[in-house]
């Protein structure tokens, strides 16, 4: 007599190995489908573009391109242009670059705020404000079980383990081994802390095309989760910290400007809420300083003293023109051919000049520098010339600085949400 349909004898096993093989195969397929899907989703959204002016001896991970280029010498001249679209490296590939190439690549990855020379409209509605920690801007990449921070010029500041995703070689790190993240930070010496001012990639997801609003939201919800804000330990050499970010209304501006922060302040940063993370100079992020909120209001020279005359660093072009680091560059003057030949300057050299106050004019809101006096070649560590906005800001700082009162005045006093506009019912 067979057992009833619902009842299986305890001595007969319930699962056949064939069924198990089927299930394991399905499990494997589901897992692999989800892996490929995730790979696709992460693909291309984190591609960085190398600026076309980068040198052609760059080591590309794509061997095909190198071989193809080597095949025909005559094409070398066009190499820059012809392979430019292929010169997109993601941060993982870029982290395999070495030496000068790496420095060049990383030097171009930071978003550089312009200096605030006038007040953008709708500051209170469209902008965030926060106090900039004093210290070096750096680009922090965690991948392959290690974390590397690089300064604005692309050189390595620290190479260390951290609790950022895949930032150290601990076994229990969540997420796949290939995972990485990229942060825009300021390293604050006194408390040895990386203050994160922007999030560029998180666990392989690129935030480049996300608005600042979203990036800050993400930064605030994700960074702490990772344990990166914890105190230093064996697998976490430096503490990371977020900075308080405010809506740029009266209260927010006041908080950023005058409230004391756990870090030394160096000016105030304004970020447009709708702006994407854009490498290089952008007017959608602005820096502003005065003597109250920064020790570095006026530029100092190599001795740390404020020179009597304003100094600028400009880049010399092929034709001897002296330009800023803006895109497109602003021309502030030019060098004469025999001077160039005598001094053996080459295109791309960064040169330091002093400017005579009386020669400076502002025409239609545009700054024009009259008499540039050559001082020296700039410090080798510098990667860029000054930006137009910096030159302008420094000029203004010496004559009629933009004051915190001016900024505050441009912001309407905020009305509380429950403003007492009461409908009065007639005849009651």
């Amino acid at each position: 007599m067979p057992p009833p349909e619902v009842r299986r004898s305890i001595k007969r096993s319930a699962v056949s190995d064939q069924q198990r093989r089927r299930e394991l195969a399905l499990l494997r397929q589901t897992q692999q489908r989800s892996d490929s899907q995730n790979r696709a989703r992460r693909l291309a959204s984190s591609v960085f573009t190398l600026s076309s002016s980068s040198s052609s001896d760059l080591i590309l991970p794509d061997k095909d391109i190198l071989t193809r280029a080597a095949d025909s010498e005559e094409h070398e001249a066009h190499l820059d242009e012809s392979v430019a679209p292929a010169r997109e490296l993601n941060v993982v590939q870029a982290s395999k670059l070495k030496g000068r190439e790496a420095r060049q690549w990383f030097a171009r990855q930071l978003m550089l705020p312009e200096w605030m020379i006038d007040i953008p409209p709708k500051l209170d509605r469209d902008w965030y404000v926060f106090a900039r920690p004093a210290g070096n801007r750096c680009f922090v990449v965690s991948s392959n079980g290690t974390t590397i921070s690089r300064l604005r010029n692309g050189s390595v500041l620290h190479h260390f383990p951290s609790s950022l995703p895949n930032g150290s070689r601990t076994r229990d790190s969540s997420g796949p081994a290939s995972s990485y993240c990229v942060l825009d930070c300021i390293f604050h010496e006194p408390d040895q802390t990386y203050y994160v001012i922007d999030m560029v990639c998180w666990r392989d997801y690129s935030l480049y095309d996300c608005t600042a609003e979203f990036r800050f939201f993400w930064l605030n919800s994700k960074l702490a989760e990772s344990g990166a804000c914890n105190s230093p330990s064996t697998y976490h050499r430096y503490r990371f910290s977020v900075v308080p970010i405010y809506d740029c209304n009266q209260a927010g501006l006041h908080a950023a400007y005058s409230t004391s922060m756990p870090y030394t302040k160096d000016g105030v940063l304004f970020f447009n809420k709708h702006a994407h993370y854009q490498t290089g100079n952008t007017p959608l992020a602005l820096v502003w300083k005065d003597n109250y909120c920064s020790q570095y209001f006026l530029d100092t020279d190599s001795q740390g003293l404020v020179p009597t005359q304003q100094q600028v660093v400009l880049e010399m072009q092929e034709d001897g023109k002296l330009t800023t680091s803006d895109d497109p560059p602003v021309v502030f003057g030019s060098l004469e051919v025999d001077f160039i030949q005598k001094s053996e300057f080459r295109a791309g050299n960064l040169l330091r000049f002093a400017i005579k106050d009386e020669s400076v004019r502002v025409v239609d809101g545009k700054l024009e520098l009259g008499d540039l006096q050559f001082i020296s070649k700039s410090n080798r560590a510098r990667a860029f010339a000054d930006s137009y906005s910096k030159v302008f800001f420094q000029y203004a700082a010496r004559h009629s600085p933009l004051k915190i009162e001016d900024i505050a005045a441009s912001i309407l006093p905020n009305l509380p949400d429950d403003s007492p506009i009461v409908d009065v019912e007639m005849g009651s």
């Binding site: 057992p3 305890i10 190995d17 195969a25 397929q29 979203f214």
Partner: protein
């Protein structure tokens, strides 16, 4: 047309034509010749002939290669629609006929909408469509049905076959007339009983089928029959239940129930139950008996909601009265008791009423004491059904029920006693489910509270069950399907242990201690069986001390006990010990590095014992290996070679075919390989050529009898399964992969030869193994594609053995991931087949969701090259999405299916969207985006998707934004899915849903901010 196997409700729309599901047939003959119409005979009613534009081909899936399409109305084979494809217009030889057809122009777009349902809306209205109406009168034959029915049961094969053929023809030519003559035959008391029985059986089979889809078709077919035909048939049937011939009555009862099952839910035949109930008061016992039987069958067929409470009350009153001892006729009482069994599901309201419930319970309990064994057995079956349906209403009856069941278990005939044990097993099932739902949290407000009946009955229940263990049958271990008091008792004891946990141990231990050393094998076996049965449920803390003491005894018994039953049960008990008390999840295991070697020695020795004992020893080894699944250094490693050799020796035993010994040996071998560690990887690599050689040998065998061939196939299946496990193991790690790559060519060659054997299991196993191979080999797999492709196609076409088809679909996914865009050259073939499969109603519906996922795999692999399939795949996905999002989830199973389907569809969308990302052709997807979003919105609003669907759905939301960027943002703003649904997913507890949601949020934020 897309076929997903939903209930036909989906077809129910305004137009009468749409209600007919159509079967698409295609062909290449010249349809414009008059004779083409004759192909279907003069008996065919061709409703209409359509000349269709190329655009409609979408809905018929890649039919461009065909010249015409015949769409059959499956409920009435006499109704067909013909579609002609436009290419033919240019063929000279048929032009004259075309003129004829062109003259029947009609409002064709309307009809097309009616017919196809899935015709794309972009169907060019400017293209002319033509239709003609061509009607014929149905053929009415007059055959001597009785003789044919008798011939169909003839001993002579030719006579039988001829008769069957005639019946089939008759049915196809004129279904109403056919059914009518069958019912007349059944009702006619003058006719021989055999022709009447067969007539009834064919009628029944014309109304119901096991396969869900076929069943739905038959239901529609019956409903679409002419009302007068149906009422004639029904009156014949009702007349038959008063027949003096018992077989005719019984057959009619069943047919009536089948019709009731179709019509009552449609609010038809509403007078049926009343007219049956009027029979109850008839004096003739045989009418009463047949009426009760019919009522019982009806209750089995229809769901309780369909019958109103007033009628339920009347049915139950009639049934319970029929069971009562005051009913003098035993046949009536048996019929009534069996009817109650079926009617219990209708008695919700009555069981909530104390008085009515008391009455029903009293009558049932009394019936368990009836002098008639059939009544007693039926009454216990009622108790079993009550125990699961009305568990929460039983408290006040449990004492009485215990006494009744205890008496039956100890004294009654075996079939009755088995039902009495089943009652307790069923109570255990209920309590295990309830306690599972509590999840250890006893404050949880579960729907049904646990009454702890088992815990309360324990002191009396356990001794009763232990007694049954001593009632073994001599040959029970050799017989796979054996079921007797001892087995039922042990099974119940196991369930009791799972229900009460630790409490059972002290109640069973004395029995074990007392009997385990007795000279009578029955006592030793029963003691061991009791021990093995209680190993799941009680805590390891409680069991480990006992097992530590018993382990040595068990090992000795397995070696030395003179009785095979005792050894069989001992090996099984060891397996249970390893299954439940050994493994990395336990704090302390009963297996230590010290005793492991001893255990292994005994098991390997025991594998040389008689087949049933050796089979259990293999099973024990399976669980021993499984326990080391996640540990880095397995103490089995030093003996790995020896274990493998012993298992291989078992597979070579002459008697390995008995007691599924060979299968058990291969299963253990597989598990040993799966759980092996890096240090033994070289041995696994060496095992590979050994198994390959075995497979090779089976392929060389020639001239086998069909019996030998069957055994050969079984062995090939096992060997392919084993190869699959080895490939997956070695392929998973870079270091071992290298060693096995050298065999890849040969392995593939073997698999291709295996496909030449026609056996489903072997194909399935070989397919699975090839999937694993493709994954391991990666892009290099391309070199095998030419040889493999025909079998891949064959697998996709294997509708009959749908498991093979399903596995093959999965392998296509593996190939996509292994070959990436190198799969492109074979994509045309695969896509055509996959889309055909989606349109087929022959293919089991469970294969359809993986097919959709597979479309996604292909799209992801070939990227923008998927372009040419978009016009076919997208309409399919759209109609599938519609069907699945509005699926009427009549039950859990249907809902689960709908969710699998949704998941598949969403994975397809995901793959397509991601595949097109960053390519200039992205805008091709734009027209489909609103529909996809709408699908997501609908899913969100329906609120019945499971976690897997939720994860995929929110992922698709992100994919839309990721691929279409700012273009998607306008639609996004109008979609609830992109807001509320996303928010819900972001706060999900399920990390994988949350992760997908975060990705989606990021992608959307990028898209809307551009």
């Amino acid at each position: 047309m897309l076929r997903l196997g939903f209930p036909t409700r989906n077809y129910a729309a305004a137009s009468p034509l749409r209600r007919l599901p159509f079967r698409v047939r295609t062909g290449g003959a010249d349809p414009f010749q008059k004779r083409t119409f004759r192909l279907f005979g003069p008996k065919v009613d061709i409703l209409a002939v359509y000349l269709v534009t190329g655009a409609i081909c979408h809905s018929f899936v890649c039919l461009r290669e065909f010249e015409y399409v015949i769409v059959e109305n499956e409920y009435n084979k006499n109704h067909k629609l013909l579609f002609f494809l436009p290419g033919l217009l240019h063929q000279d030889e048929s032009s004259s006929n075309i003129d004829h057809i062109l003259s029947y122009k009609s409002n064709s777009n309307q009809i097309l909408d009616d017919v196809a349902g899935s015709v794309p809306t972009n169907l060019s209205k400017s293209r002319p469509l033509y239709c003609m109406h061509y009607s014929m009168h149905p053929f009415l034959g007059s055959m001597e049905i009785t003789q044919i029915l008798l011939n169909a049961q003839a001993v002579d094969g030719t006579v039988r076959k001829h008769a069957e053929e005639s019946l089939k023809q008759f049915q196809e030519q004129n279904l109403p007339a056919f059914l009518l003559s069958l019912s007349n035959e059944l009702a006619n008391n003058e006719k021989p009983v055999d022709s009447r029985k067969l007539a009834g059986l064919i009628l029944k089979n014309a109304l119901d089928a096991k396969e869900q889809l076929r069943k739905a078709e038959l239901v529609q077919r019956w409903l679409s029959l002419d009302v007068s035909v149906k009422s004639q048939i029904k009156s014949c049937l009702l007349q038959t239940i008063s027949s003096p011939v018992p077989d005719a009555r019984s057959t009619a009862s069943q047919v009536i129930a089948k019709i009731a099952g179709i019509e009552l839910p449609q609010k038809q035949w509403t007078e049926l139950i009343a007219s049956l109930l009027s029979n109850i008061h008839q004096l003739q016992p045989h009418v009463k008996q047949a009426t009760l039987e019919t009522l019982g069958y009806i209750c089995e067929e229809v769901s309780p909601q369909v019958v109103d409470q007033d009628q339920v009350n009347k049915i139950l009153t009639a049934v319970v009265q029929g069971m009562n001892a005051s009913e003098g006729n035993t046949d009536v009482r048996v019929a009534a008791t069996r009817a109650l069994y079926n009617a219990l599901g209708f008695a919700q309201a009555n069981f909530s009423n104390d008085m009515e419930r008391d009455y029903i319970m009293r009558v049932v309990c009394e019936a368990t004491l009836s002098p008639d064994e059939k009544i007693r057995q039926a009454a216990f079956e009622c108790l079993v059904a009550i125990s699961s349906t009305y568990y929460d209403k039983l408290a006040s009856y449990m004492q009485d029920i215990f006494n009744i069941t205890a008496k039956a278990v100890r004294e009654d005939e075996e079939p009755v006693a088995l039902q009495a044990i089943e009652f307790w097993s069923s109570i255990c099932d209920e309590e295990i489910d309830i306690l599972d739902e509590y999840g250890g949290d006893f404050t949880a407000d579960s729907d049904v509270p646990c009454y702890y009946f088992i815990k309360q009955a324990l002191p009396a229940l356990v001794p009763m069950l232990l007694e049954t263990l001593l009632k073994q049958e001599e040959d029970q271990d050799q017989d796979e399907g054996a079921w007797n008091l001892a087995m039922a008792g042990g099974t119940c004891l196991g369930l009791v242990a799972r229900t009460v946990g630790d409490d059972i141990v002290p109640l069973v231990m004395p029995f074990i201690q007392e009997n385990i050393t007795k000279p009578d094998w029955r006592q030793r076996e029963a003691a061991t069986y009791a021990f093995g049965s209680i190993l799941e449920g009680p805590s390891p803390d409680k069991l480990i001390p006992v097992v530590n003491v018993a382990l040595n005894f068990m090992l000795t018994a397995l070696m030395k006990d003179p009785n095979n039953h005792v050894k069989d049960t001992t090996a099984w008990t060891l397996g249970r010990i390893f299954e439940f008390l050994h493994g990395s999840t336990l704090e302390t295991s009963v297996i230590t590095n010290e005793n492991c070697q001893q255990i292994l020695t005994v098991l390997l020795q025991s594998m040389k014992d008689v087949p049933n004992v050796a089979e259990k020893a293999c099973g024990a080894l399976y669980f021993l290996a499984q326990g080391y699944e996640d540990s880095s250094g397995s103490p089995l490693s030093p003996f790995f070679q020896e274990i493998i050799q012993s298992l291989l020796n078992v597979t070579h035993r002459d008697d390995a075919g008995e007691s599924r010994l060979r299968t058990a040996a291969y299963e253990s071998l597989n598990e040993v390989v799966r759980t092996s560690t890096d240090e033994t990887a070289p041995i696994v690599t060496q095992l590979l050529p050994v198994i390959m050689m075995e497979l090779h040998k089976t392929l060389e065998a020639q001239k086998l009898s069909s019996d030998e061939r069957e055994k050969q196939n079984e062995l090939q299946g096992l060997l392919c399964g084993c190869l699959q496990v080895i490939i997956q193991k070695l392929g998973a790690s870079e270091t071992t992969k290298y060693g096995f790559m050298q065999y890849a060519d040969q392995i593939m060659e073997l698999f291709l030869r295996v496909f030449a054997c026609r056996n489903a299991t072997v194909h399935e196993e070989a397919m699975l193994a090839i999937g694993a191979l493709a994954y391991a080999v990666g892009g290099n797999f391309i070199k095998y594609m030419q040889g493999f492709y025909p079998y891949l196609e064959m697998g996709l076409q294997n509708f009959q053995e749908y498991q093979v088809c399903a596995i093959t679909v999965g392998v296509v996914g593996d190939l996509c991931r292994a070959l990436e865009d190198k799969i492109l050259p074979i994509c045309d073939g695969i896509m055509t087949q996959l889309l055909k499969n989606l349109s087929s109603n022959q293919l089991h519906r469970s294969v359809k969701p993986p097919i959709f996922s597979c479309l996604g795999d292909i799209a992801l692999a070939i990227g923008e090259n998927f372009e040419k399939y978009l016009i076919y795949a997208m309409p399919m996905l759209q109609s599938a999405a519609e069907l699945s999002s509005h699926a009427v989830a009549t039950d859990d199973e249907m809902l689960e299916y709908a969710n699998q389907l949704r998941n598949g569809i969403l994975e397809a969308y995901s793959g397509i969207l991601q595949g097109f990302k960053n390519c200039p052709k992205t805008q091709l997807l734009m027209p489909y985006a609103p529909h996809i979003l709408q699908f997501l919105d609908t899913l969100y609003n329906e609120k019945d998707m499971d976690d897997a669907v939720m994860k995929t759905a929110v992922g698709v939301l992100g994919d839309l934004a990721d691929t279409l960027g700012s273009h998607a943002s306008t639609w996004m703003n109008q979609s609830v899915a992109s807001k509320e649904f996303l928010e819900e997913c972001l706060s999900s507890d399920d990390p994988s849903i949350k992760e997908s949601a975060e990705w989606a949020k990021m992608a959307i934020s990028r898209a809307v901010s551009v």
